[in-house]
Amino acid sequence: MKRKTSLPAVFLIPPLIVLAILAFVPTIAAVNIALQNRELSFPNSSYVWLSNFIDLFGDRRFINAIWISVIWEVVTVTATMLVAVLLAIFLFERASPRMQNLISILFIIPVMLPRVSAAFVWKFMFNPLFGLINYPIKLLTGAPIDFLSLPATALASVAVVDVWQWGLFFSVIILKLLQTLPPQPFEAARLDNAKTWEVHFYIGIPMLGAPLISLVFVKMVESLRAFDLIYVMTRGGPGIATETLDMYAFSQGFVEAGKISYASSMAVLMMVATIIAFTVLWKWVRKWQ
């Protein structure tokens, strides 16, 4: 059938062009810079093609940064979803509707704080000399724990802040989703003497499968952008124990060396890896659904 109007094209083409420019121009620029040997302190540069990419795989800090990024992604996404689901179920089961609303407001506050402010507040709370968290620890053990300087605790401490912001926020969303579910399946299960955890594990969570998966994807994207949190709290330390890929790229591009081509090559690899990982996961989730 012949189209009667060209209106969709009129409305769609301009924003698509804008989106294409916004998406492709920086990407092409990043790839172009990654193929050169550009440094901020040198006025001239030339094409070295894949040399930066080859160097990356011999760079111990880059290999470390990949592992830290993967650990960060897995830990923060898993912990956020676990905290969110458990808190939402707890509130759904135990709190009155009035209390649920009040707690929801409180739980939204952390995510509304700018990341940098949240990072500063928590950094001070973790301070071994003056921090609130160390006060009871000093009373009990006689010595403070320097959470952000110990390799064993630094990444977990930063992850706590991330989960504090997003886990609480997601719990409000999941609570509201639980409230929208029809009560009959829950009532039927309870009549069959199902325990609370069984009701939610076998009925509530499966019924929320699609929105929960969407939340997982949102958190995965958000966790990739944890630069500000890590930068303020640890700057990638102790040593390189919390140095994620974006931290290392920024460090090479602007803080330590001014090697913007080297930093760009990391950014390009990150982009490729992210696209592949998200595409595979998306397809896997669709098949599973």
Binding site: P128, G142, S149, G237, G239, F254, E256, A257
Partner: protein, 421 residues
Amino acid sequence: MLVKSYYAALLGGATLLIFANSANAQICSSTVRVLAQPRDSLTLLESYKDEFKKLSGASFEFDYLNENDRRAKSRAEAATTGKYNVYYIDEANVALFAESKWIVPLLDYYPSDVNFDDFDAGRKKVASYNGVAYFAPVQGGGDLLYYRKDVLQAAGMTPPKTLEEYEAALAKLNDPAKGFYGTALRGGRGSGANVWRWMTYFKAFGGQWFVDGKPAFNSDAAMKATETYLRLFKYSAPGTQTGSWTEVTEAFNSGNVAMIIESSPLAGQTEDPKQSSVAGKVGYTVPPRPLVGGGYGHGLAIGAKANADEAARKCAGTFIAWATSKQNEERRLEQGIFGDINRTSVINSDAFKKKYGAEIGSALNETAQYTDVNFWVNADWPDLGDRWGIILEELITGTRTDIKGGLDELEAYANKLIARR
């Protein structure tokens, strides 16, 4: 009071006259833009904007970033857009800025009657690259040993004069069970952080960065310096293993630490009861021998790109001369901004002695003879220094233990750096 005001007015008038003579007419045609890091002395300047406007015909505007961010941003900005007329730079990046031609020689545009020679000799040294001055100092100094007089007296001790005595004193005074620590060291990464303190040991043990253009730092001196520095961390307050100036000075000023070796501007904060709980309890002397104090300086330099013509450079030079003039240093002294006093005429004045007492003044004079430029004066220094800073932080926090392996890694990196120049 009347006499004081009269002298102040006379001095102000004379300074304006000097600038007016050198300027003759409107010197600046647009607002002077400055990329800086927060300093009380610069904030103070903002109260005298009208004075500069009267002198030059234009105003000025500061964009502030903390030290690490200022370093990162100024390098990226100067290499690309270069929109700032004046850059706040420091001893560690003056070589990079000068060699990259992001800044121009200062004295070509610095009015001669403002007397650049009045600045402390150490600060003039670190403000120069290849014998040419590039910035006028805003702050700087060497190192002092800061010790708690009350604590040492109670322990029946005198300030340590050698490194051995210093280590023994730290071991004796360190009492973590009571929340009191022997010292506070900089463990956090950076050429201006952990490496800055480590270098005083490296130089003390005879270390050199490069000899005949080849890396020479992978040596016994570096090994001994690193081993010593790591050993001293046993007595360092918690939080300093990844901390720097802020964590160290907070630990000392809050009364949790017996003694520290730190840059001289800290004395002003330590004696200010609003910022320090140990004001009046601290003694000042030279660092234990053979440590070589790290001479440093931060200051204002003329940007090359934003000041494309001679008139714009003259305007930036006039701003820097005004901002770092004796008159403005006297205002800092009056406000108690100790760390930002750089002119010998002000340091040696009666007003300075009256305000800070004789002990700090004599410690400053004495430490000058044990102060040197400890870093590698080269455009690649920030890169090399920061790389060592990461490795050193790994060693301090125990994420790696092989000092020799770390030095080998740094040497390989240094060879790569010099090969590309």
